[in-house]
Symmetry: C2
Subunit: 265 residues, 2 copies
């Protein structure tokens, strides 16, 4: 399971301030915490800054990688910010995220075609957000085909079927879950990915709902998640669910994590 740490995101007030003040210490503390908790990629997002996004992304990538030995997830559809991030990034980053929307795709692809970047591919097209599992599969197939034609290796693509709040429509959860299984079955070799928190929008006890949903998605074959790795219950859920989904020989990872007492079980 690929864990992308979501905390360095300018939409969070503390991070907005840290970025504005170029507070190296504050950003590095969060990056280090996420890495130590098990994040494989540190997401960096400066989307709210618009004109300065390019500079800030460059600064964030350098600031994070000065203390974390691992890649970033460059979280923007802005081609200039991607270019800026890539110019300083060490190793192979994740790009979060492209979609089948024409403008977004055409703007981003020149910076990604032929690279080894891991790419989050949202199931979103010019027709909007798909509703059913089958609709998601259709968008995923088109998007993956285009990416492969543009020389992105299949195994570097992480399809995100997109979660919508289950409080709005009771089918939104199950159609997403079925989409994970369907995409893994029909597009053999591709990966899947999601951020979970949208599912619980409008509900009480959101953290618990997100954790429960994550376990269900892992049962369906989910390969990666954009989460808060400092959420000890969420990480405990992911580790247990992976063992239950057959991805943990003799449950050794679960048993070790349980013994270490780092997460909540």
């Amino acid at each position: 399971m690929i864990i992308v740490g979501e905390l360095i995101n300018a939409s969070r007030k503390a991070i907005t301030d840290s970025i504005k003040n170029r507070d190296v210490e504050a950003i590095q503390t969060v990056a280090r915490q996420e890495h130590e908790a098990g994040a494989h990629y540190i997401d960096v997002n400066a989307g709210i800054f618009l004109d300065e996004e390019e500079d800030y992304i460059r600064w964030l990538v350098q600031t994070v990688q000065a203390v974390v030995e691992g890649p970033c997830s460059i979280d923007t559809p802005n081609p200039r910010a991607i270019e800026a991030g890539l110019s300083v990034h060490k190793g192979t980053p994740m790009i979060n995220s492209i979609s089948l929307e024409s403008e977004r795709y055409n703007n981003m692809i020149p910076f990604l075609a032929g690279t080894d970047c891991r790419i989050v591919a949202l199931c979103m097209s010019d027709e909007g957000m798909p509703k059913t599992a089958e609709d998601r599969l259709r968008v995923a197939e088109k998007l993956v085909n285009r990416l492969v034609q543009d020389r992105i290796p299949l195994e570097n693509i992480f399809v995100d079927p997109l979660i919508q709040p289950v409080s709005v429509d009771k089918t939104f959860g199950i159609e997403f879950l079925k989409a994970i299984a369907l995409i893994k079955e029909k597009i053999a070799g591709v990966h899947t990915m999601c951020g979970a928190s949208n599912i619980s929008y409008g509900l009480p006890g959101r953290a618990f709902v997100n954790q429960t949903f994550m376990s269900m998605a892992i049962g369906m074959g989910l390969d990666g998640a954009i989460v808060n790795p400092l959420d000890k219950r969420m990480m405990g859920n992911i580790i247990a669910a992976e063992a239950l989904a057959g991805r943990d020989n003799f449950c050794m990872n679960y048993i070790k994590a349980h013994r270490a007492g780092k997460f909540e079980f």
Copy 2:
């Protein structure tokens, strides 16, 4: 989701004593607690007593139904104990459980054929316990066919694909989960059911593992579970997972349960 309360089981020391002493008060207290926590059926099991099982099952059914307005799950393969339980049971009980093992099937079916009992049908045959999801489906298909020929309505059959410990073989969890989805897809109209606790045998943090697995099974379409309804986290998991699986209009059941503070979320 059908909840069967598992606590009145003679393999538990406190219950052994209560049964031996014909302690009406003790049994009724547990039955009432299970019912109030949301159990739709109160399981009664006196299997360890062998010769007295028949008498004890009769007494347990009467004792439980004197205070609980709801059915029992008569938990025995012993045809005389089934007959005794049925002779005093009010309403429609569940029978836990039949299997495709010849002796068990042939002994039990005369007391069940043509009745309206809900029947738990274990995926177990004379060849032993199946390993893969496909093996489970094959046993389920044969067993369901025989039951239907013996005039058990399809919708009264609850197939239990049987859980084995994931600590023994990492595929045991995922093959069970896939079996749930496969059985629901291929035998349209049949129900599925399980007890969850076997999955965590040999692991630390068993309650958490059981809860996580239950959520994953509900995502696959599980219709019922034999659980401890007094486990507030387990019940919270079931209620949240049901909403996430699309079985709770506007999440009203989840929201109400959350507000009532009866379970842990």
